[in-house]
């Protein structure tokens, strides 16, 4: 179902224009109430901060990939990299606020020249660290080849993106050949103990839909990923998390250009889940991004 709103809502990557486009949808469609109204209708109150349990740090938008849906507009030519001074300030904040969990993301966070140093400092502070890994970074040259071993030595939890268990859908979203490299990347992680019974090294996968539709149930997809990745490639992992694409940045641009914008937002709003919202009130309430 194509909508015509791309003609009036031109994509512009600056955050303010994007916010305007997102606000505009409530005017165009009578099926998109405000989030606040949804919360009230479900008897929930607005989210309130509840201490800081997680600090998510984006080390920059430099990435070896340039996925079509990327909500941080990352890519190989990007230059916004978190500098050493800011990383030191983050460490200070982590120390002072006793934040137990640090979630490192990007771009490809490993491309930040201070990534390994930063992980080392977090280890000294005895923090639990999650790294968001795109799996193809391991093959971007000699300096990245040993990353799986580096992760394992430092006991990092790996959250790896794999949009689908087939090459067509994955490559369509993330670039030609990405699926095959991702499979190799997952094998390397398994060889280093990740996703293996009793190793204590967690390998969690993230699925996100490869187009203008929402995710199927997490349980269904986790079972299929587990079964297919093991049968076809011998790959093992711990959990699969299903997420939906945020209608911002490149994905918003795609929605507008493909004429799927309004329908997608309506689906997203209709899929509001009061139980999850109540849960995020307590979990997002403890995160700083």
């Amino acid at each position: 179902m194509k909508d015509e709103y791309h003609k009036i809502l031109e994509f512009n990557s600056d955050p303010e224009s994007q916010l305007k486009i997102l606000e505009e949808v409530t005017r165009i469609s009578d099926r998109v109430p405000f989030f606040k109204e949804k919360l009230t209708a479900s008897g929930l109150t607005e989210f309130k901060p509840a201490g800081i349990q997680v600090l998510q740090i984006n080390l920059g938008n430099l990435c070896n990939q340039a996925c079509k849906h990327c909500h941080v507009n990352a890519g190989p030519a990007k230059t916004e990299i978190m500098d050493l001074k800011t990383l030191k300030q983050c460490l200070e904040a982590i120390r002072n606020h006793r934040i137990p969990l640090v979630d490192i993301t990007g771009g490809a966070p490993e491309m930040n020249p201070d990534f390994r140093w930063f992980v080392g400092e977090l280890r000294k502070l005895d923090k639990k660290v999650i790294v968001r890994c795109n799996l193809t970074i391991f093959f971007e040259g000699a300096k990245y080849n040993d990353l799986p071993a580096f992760y394992a030595d430092n006991g990092l939890e790996v959250v790896a993106s794999l949009p689908f268990y087939s090459a067509d859908r994955t490559d369509n979203m993330r670039g030609k050949g990405v699926f095959e490299k991702s499979v190799q990347g997952l094998r390397l992680l398994n060889e280093n103990g990740y996703g293996q019974k009793d190793s204590g090294l967690m390998l969690n996968l993230v699925y996100n839909p490869s187009g203008a539709f929402l995710s199927a149930s997490q349980k269904l997809l986790e079972d299929e990923f587990r079964h297919i990745l093991f049968d076809r490639y011998g790959i093992e992992f711990n959990n699969l998390f299903t997420i939906n694409n945020m209608p911002v940045s490149r994905f918003l641009d795609y929605l507008l250009r493909s004429g799927n914008y309004i329908a997608y937002i309506e689906h997203l709003v209709n899929a509001f889940n009061p139980v999850a919202a109540a849960g995020s009130g307590s979990s997002c309430g403890g995160s700083i991004v």
Partner: protein, 111 residues
């Protein structure tokens, strides 16, 4: 008055059919929900059956809804097309099977 018989936006209004007959609509949606939830068949399998049937009954709303559902559930393009072929084959076969009636009748009325 609409200029076309089918309007994609009408799919969103399916839930409003209770406006003219609430009791039956409520019963229908309850039954519909039960039919599509996990039973001896999974929700995923049911979505593929629905896609094939949607083509056989040529309902553009159902084709729209169940194509999305099947993609979402991880069916590949070729699996979905094969399901449509199964529906088409049954439809074609059903037409041809009726030709036996035609043949019988021809034989009945022929010298």
């Amino acid at each position: 008055m609409e200029k076309t018989y089918y309007n994609p936006d009408d799919l969103k209004k399916f839930g409003d059919i209770g406006e003219f007959q609430k009791d039956y609509a409520d019963k229908f949606f309850e039954w519909y929900g039960a039919v599509f939830s996990e039973g001896a068949l999974t929700e995923k399998e049911k979505s593929l059956i629905a896609l094939a049937v949607a083509h056989v009954v040529q309902c553009p709303y159902c084709i729209d809804a169940y194509t999305t559902e099947c993609v979402k559930n991880g069916y590949s393009n070729s699996q979905m097309m094969e399901a449509v072929h199964v529906g088409a084959a049954i439809r074609g076969g059903a037409t041809l099977a009726h030709s036996v009636q035609m043949m019988n009748k021809v034989k009945d009325i022929s010298l």
